[in-house]
């Protein structure tokens, strides 16, 4: 049986879409292991544009004090956004198909 994508995976995919459209050299596919600066060419301006785009895409508000400070790879951003927007499953709810 095929598992439906989890919220985490769906969020990660949306993050990759946003990053992909803002790559300085022009839109391209990205993967979680891509490094923003060395692989994708993000400079400080592009990083700020990316942050703004993610805020709009995910309706981000206040910054939790324990929010991660590292944003080196696309995967780091996926984890960062997932921690902010993905709700953990309710108690007793199955998390995978049987």
């Amino acid at each position: 049986m095929t598992q439906a994508p989890t919220s985490h995976e769906a969020t990660a995919a949306r993050v990759r879409d946003v990053v992909a459209t803002l790559v300085p050299g022009g839109p391209r596919e990205v993967c979680s292991t891509d490094e923003l600066v060395s692989d994708l060419g993000f400079d400080s301006l592009a990083m700020l544009e990316l942050a703004l785009a993610l805020e709009v895409e995910f309706d981000l508000q206040a910054i939790p004090e324990d929010q991660a400070v590292s944003m080196i790879t696309v995967g780091d951003i996926e984890a960062l956004i997932a921690a902010l927007v993905v709700e953990p499953p309710a108690e007793g709810q199955a998390t995978s198909g049987s």
């Binding site: 803002l22 400079d43 400080s44 301006l45 990083m47 700020l48 544009e49 990316l50 942050a51 703004l52 785009a53 993610l54 805020e55 981000l60 508000q61 206040a62 910054i63 929010q67 991660a68 400070v69 590292s70 944003m71 780091d76 960062l80």
Partner: protein, 331 residues
């Protein structure tokens, strides 16, 4: 090959890193040499053809567009103000050579004001500029925090019939602080941004403006050095120190909400970038002191700059209920 005095005029703003090494101890060009340079460096707004940037401007992303508009707005307000008030200094100059050079500056400032207005209209698509709306007192950090003191200085020159001290005090505030510190920092940053974003007309126009401003700054350095050596050392130092405090407040710009990313890594990076820009502007202010023979006042000026920034940061937090993003640091 060593730089000629004329090259040094341009070099003052263009090459921050080598500025001190190349200029220190050198003879600065006299007003007649600056006038000659003006004749050779004349440029026309029409030749820049600002409409070239229209298409690229429409493709700018939110943050870049917002930052550029804010910078161009401030530059436009500053140039319009200068073009309206510089004539008082011209009327009370100490010599004909000064008058001839300052007359070229009046023409330059008019051209700059027009360039920024044309760019905002024709490339950025703005219907009106801040100055045209008469909204500078509400929307411009320079108009709110520095212009009143400069206006008072100019009025003092007129009221005192061109009193030498009053005239030189106004030159310090005009040429050294407004143009040499605030405008120079804004112009350099904006040009870097224009270059990064492929705005060729803006890049070209700003290069021309920076070249013009370099002549104006050099004139200010020459005039102030003469005042310092001619018995007005303490007075010029005091004006410079006081103005630097106000300049620190202008760069913080407490009445405008700064872009504050919600993602901590981006916020930390933004904080670091802003702090680096302010530090560079401060260093420009301190370097100028050495050129006019006021080395002894570097520490006092540095302290007043920091004080101005602190005051403005506190005001920002009071106005917006949140710390300025410049205070954000990586954990």
């Amino acid at each position: 090959m060593p730089l000629t005095p004329d090259d040094q005029v341009v070099d003052i703003l263009e090459n921050d890193e080598t500025y001190g090494r190349r200029i220190r101890g050198s003879r600065l060009p006299e007003p007649r040499a600056l006038y000659n340079r003006w004749e050779k460096q004349n440029w026309a707004i029409a030749d820049v053809d600002v409409v070239r940037d229209r298409g690229q401007w429409m493709n700018l992303r939110t943050f870049a567009r917002k930052e550029l508009l804010a910078a161009l707005d401030e530059l436009e307000v500053g140039e319009v103000f200068v073009s309206r008030t510089l004539s008082t200094l011209v009327c009370h100059v100490p010599s004909d050579a000064d008058r001839l050079f300052l007359s070229t500056q009046v023409a330059d400032e008019a051209r700059h004001a027009q360039f920024f207005q044309d760019y905002l209209h024709l490339a950025a698509g703005m219907e009106t500029t801040t100055s045209e709306r008469g909204a500078q007192d509400e929307e411009s950090a320079y108009a709110q925090l520095f212009e009143p003191r400069l206006r008072a200085s100019i009025e003092s020159v007129a009221e005192r019939g061109g009193d030498r001290q009053a005239w030189h005090a106004a030159v310090v505030e005009y040429h050294l602080v407004t143009e040499g510190v605030l405008a120079a920092a804004a112009l350099h940053l904006t040009r870097q941004l224009a270059h990064r974003l492929g705005l060729v007309a803006l890049d070209e126009g700003l290069t021309n403006v920076i070249r013009d401003e370099s002549r104006h700054l050099t004139y200010g350095l020459v005039a102030t050095r003469a005042a310092v050596e001619g018995g007005l050392r303490e007075e010029m130092a005091q004006v410079y120190i006081d103005s630097t405090r106000a300049a620190g407040q202008v760069v913080v710009n407490p009445y405008t909400r700064a872009m504050t990313p919600a993602l901590k890594p981006a916020l930390a990076q933004r904080g670091a970038l802003i702090r680096a820009q302010w530090q560079q502007t401060k260093e420009r202010a301190l370097r100028q002191l050495r050129l006019i023979g006021l080395h002894d006042f570097v520490d006092a000026t540095s302290e007043q700059w920091d004080r101005g920034c602190r005051e403005a940061l506190a005001k920002y937090e009071e106005v917006w209920g949140a710390p300025h993003p410049s205070t954000a640091k990586a954990a």
